[in-house]
Amino acid sequence: MSRSIIRYGLVIASAAFLQYTLVTQFRIAGVSADLFLVVAIAAGMSAGAERGAVVGFASGLCLDLMVVTPFGLGAIAGLVAGVVAGLLEFATVHSARWLTMVIGFIASAAGVVVFALSGSLLGRPDMLSLHTITVMAIVGITSSILVLPMIRVCRWADPDDLRLRAAVR
């Protein structure tokens, strides 16, 4: 358990570092990939909804420390993305890579919608606009691609028994 916490801590810290230094520099239509969401989704897909929720919450908090949106929004978005990814992954029997990517896209879109909707409810009306659709599309597409290598990273971070437990559920 403690090994898993340390490894996930490393994964989230690396994601934060890459997001801050590299990913935000490369934008399409003003939108960049969201590694915090990718980590949450990959954790959910590799170890189930509960693990996705915990990792998503932690990575979202990390995002919250780096932006000026209300503190906790990123945590809720990461949590939802992780849970959605975990539920969808274990509700489907598949081996196709494209299905993994589709689940990544859906979970990512769910995270973005929750982030924008919660922000809008908390007095940030600008967060729910046409721009949200652009964010959903671009973050969704980039997440669906990045989730493939990130799942491998999360499998390294998770102890084997947890993965097996999720797989036989």
Partner: protein, 276 residues
Amino acid sequence: MASSRRGGRARITISLLLLSAVLLLTLDGRGSGPIQSVRSGILTVLSPIGDAASTVFSPFRNAWNSTFDQSDLKTENEALREENDRLKGQITANSIAKEQLQQLLQLVGIPFVGDTPVVHTRVVSGTIGNFGDRLELDKGSSAGIERNMPVVTGEGLIGKVVEVSENRCIVSLLSSGTFKVGFSVVGTAAIGIAQGSGSENSLRGTNLDSRQSVAVGAIAATSGLAGSPFPPNLPIGTLTAVRTNEAALESTVDITMFANLNDLVYADVVLWKPAG
């Protein structure tokens, strides 16, 4: 049996995490000090790393931007040429009222902050997230910058400082809708409140007395009324639409900001604090 026990535990975990997030949002909404301190600390730690990364990746970023933003740049360039021609024509026209002329001069670079000292800064990075809420500038408290100070470009108000560390500050953009600014319509007695509307460079102005005559094309500047966090007469933008609700005796206006928030390189922090 074991499976349902695990499912129950998962539900409890998720519910507890959701509750924690709501608690954090509530604490932040009440202006919890520790959260702001942690954010300032993170900013201090990350700023040198950000500088190095920005330098290292600059050539790649430029190549990327020229690939994806080429059509945008062309459109923007054409719009700026048109705007430039229009302003030149307007400035030389004798029929322009003195007040408007002054505002237009400000638009072409004449300083409008008067004797108030400013700190010239460079934009270090844009948003980390995807909701365009912030800019990071390369000066901080060591240069005299404090929270809530207004931030301007040569064209007008763009936002206010929301986080400060020793050598960095974070600016919340006016268009983000995170705060409101009192404005007056130049040449009239109309005053109102402007806030970001969600679309880029566009604001929504409300609470204008409908008995005051305001027209499309008029200029909005900060009102600087007592208690306002902004000094008076910082240009904000031009009115692009006016809607009057006679029953409520209120007008609402759309304002297009003078300052272009895309690709900002430099910005000035006005070292101004409200009296009292």
